[in-house]
């Protein structure tokens, strides 16, 4: 194919951000699936590309890029296709603000809950010695701590409660922002929306008592609008796990309070 290669996991969170951006821009790329649940990202061949062992990584010719949100801006600037950053400088500031807020404040809380209910249980059945060795291979100390907690179910009540508090606050902020404009941070579809969708696409399933058509109509409108885009459909169709297939909830025309289990 061309000279762009993306090493990614599922269309979800950090991996999904550059995947969706590339697809929105119509940039063809060689897809290299890195199975997070098989610890592919900590194997020598992957560490040779990204010594930090984090996913995703993008190669463009001889260039190697990390940091998913910074990659999104690169993709928007380096390739033709629809512009995903508006011309207005204040809009660009707002888009960056929201991406940072989601990346650094909100997403870690979603992630902690997701790792507790999905990632940890998904790998826990592996051979204990294999898991121990896998943890030891992780280059970043904070990622070792994260994996240990997920694998052995070591999340404390206080930290889970705090994550749930932040998720509730974040949902309120998203709903309020989306009640003011069509898209999250500007009047046109932007990187902030692509970023936010990766965070929130399964919200009515993962947080049914906080997000549905009755409680958060603007979030639901926003999620459905993004999912209706051909690039989003194509991107999420590449998903292999049940976690990502939850996106199908957005095909339901109405998700009301009765949806709450």
């Amino acid at each position: 194919m061309g000279d762009v290669a993306l090493y990614h996991w599922e269309p979800n969170a950090n991996s999904g951000k550059p995947m969706l951006t590339l697809m929105e821009k119509g940039v063809a790329f060689d897809s290299h699936y890195v199975d997070l649940l098989n610890f592919d990202q900590h194997r020598p061949d992957y560490l040779a590309i990204n010594p930090q062992g984090t996913i995703p990584v993008m190669k463009h010719g001889d260039l190697v890029l990390t940091e998913s949100t910074a990659i999104m801006e690169y993709v928007d600037e380096a390739f033709p296709g629809p512009k995903l950053m508006p011309d207005n400088p204040r809009d660009r500031w707002r888009i960056r603000w929201w991406m940072k807020f989601m990346d650094q404040w909100l997403a870690p809380s979603f992630s902690m809950i997701g790792w507790s209910v999905f990632v940890g249980p998904a790998v826990r059945s592996k051979d204990p010695e294999e898991l121990k060795a896998a943890i030891e291979r992780i280059p970043l100390p904070e990622r070792r701590v994260a994996w240990r907690k997920a694998i052995y179910g070591l999340f404390g009540d206080d930290e889970m409660k705090e994550s749930q508090r932040r998720v509730a606050v974040g949902i309120g902020m998203l709903e309020k922002a989306l009640s003011k404009r069509t898209w999250l941070a500007s009047d046109q579809y932007s990187l902030a929306d692509a970023n936010g969708f990766n965070l929130a696409y399964a919200l009515p399933l993962s947080q049914p008592s906080l997000s549905n058509d009755a409680l958060t109509p603007n979030i639901m409108r926003w999620l459905r609008s993004i999912y209706a885009r051909p690039a989003t459909k194509a991107c999420w169709a590449t998903g292999r796990t049940d976690m990502v297939k939850r996106v199908a909830i957005l095909e339901q025309p109405h998700i009301g309070r009765e949806h709450v289990p």
């Binding site: 500031w93 650094q104 870690p108 902690m112």
Partner: protein, 251 residues
């Protein structure tokens, strides 16, 4: 377009924004507020989401047409867009990516460590009436921990390691060049902003780092930076600290 910049002493994020403003030759109404007293929470825009929930903690606020803008790197990008001076970001997409990725690591790993160590050494004294207005619950907890003198030993040690790692990275990056990205950029301002005050607190990290020391001198020698530093109302602005970004709670 009129702009008002509410800023603290020229250290940390206030330094970045003041220096960027002057580098770009822009005019703004400059209003010094005592961030260390919690004065940001008394501003008319304090409860706007992008001010109240700024990940950066107690940083400056640029108000344009009533909208409060926070987070120093992104304010600097905005000033770079609207100002006329020399660009503060490279022109090529890859070099721009590197600048933003560098700043991301700086604000995610170095800034929380610096603010933590800075507040331990030079604790800010908040006005309780202003703290009652703090919109972010976790930011209020950081204020309360500082007020109570709670600084866990493991977090102090981890913060010192992160400062040392940042200085190592800068020293390595400066081989054969004057500025981190080759040309002078926001990455220089943001890195200096958080690390200038750490030399006295984590001296081992700076020992023998001759390129880093020379780079800091070059930054201080810039006229725009001198103008930003001249706004200090305290003898040593690098000893002025306020709660910054939180230390990563997950992964």
């Amino acid at each position: 377009m009129s702009m008002t910049l509410y800023h603290g002493e020229p250290n940390g994020p206030s330094f970045t924004v003041l220096a960027a403003l002057f580098e770009k030759g822009l005019q703004a109404d400059l209003v010094r507020i005592d961030l260390a007293a919690g004065a940001r929470h008394g501003l008319p825009c304090a409860q706007q989401a992008e001010v109240a929930m700024s990940v950066e903690g107690e940083g400056p606020v640029l108000v344009v047409d009533g909208e409060g803008m926070t987070d120093s790197v992104f304010i600097a990008c905005y000033l770079d867009d609207v100002g006329n001076g020399a660009p503060l970001r490279p022109s090529g997409p890859y070099d721009r990516w590197e600048t933003m990725a560098w700043c991301r690591q700086m604000i995610e790993r170095t800034a929380p460590a610096a603010a933590f160590l800075g507040c331990k050494a030079h604790p800010p004294m908040a006005d309780p009436r202003l703290l009652a207005n703090v919109g972010s619950v976790d930011l209020r907890w950081r204020w309360e921990a500082i007020g109570a003198g709670v600084f866990a030993d493991d977090m102090l040690a981890d913060s010192r390691r992160k400062i040392a790692a940042a200085v190592e990275k800068i020293e390595a990056k400066l081989v054969g060049r004057d500025w981190l990205m080759g040309e002078f950029t926001i990455a220089d301002l943001e890195s200096y902003a958080w690390l200038a005050g750490m030399a006295g607190l984590v001296p081992k990290a700076y020992a023998g780092k001759v390129r880093t020391a020379a780079w800091m001198d070059r930054i201080k020698g810039r006229s725009a930076v001198g103008r930003a530093l001249s706004l200090a109302t305290v003898a040593d602005p690098t000893a002025y600290w306020v709660p910054g970004p939180e230390i990563n709670r997950w992964g």
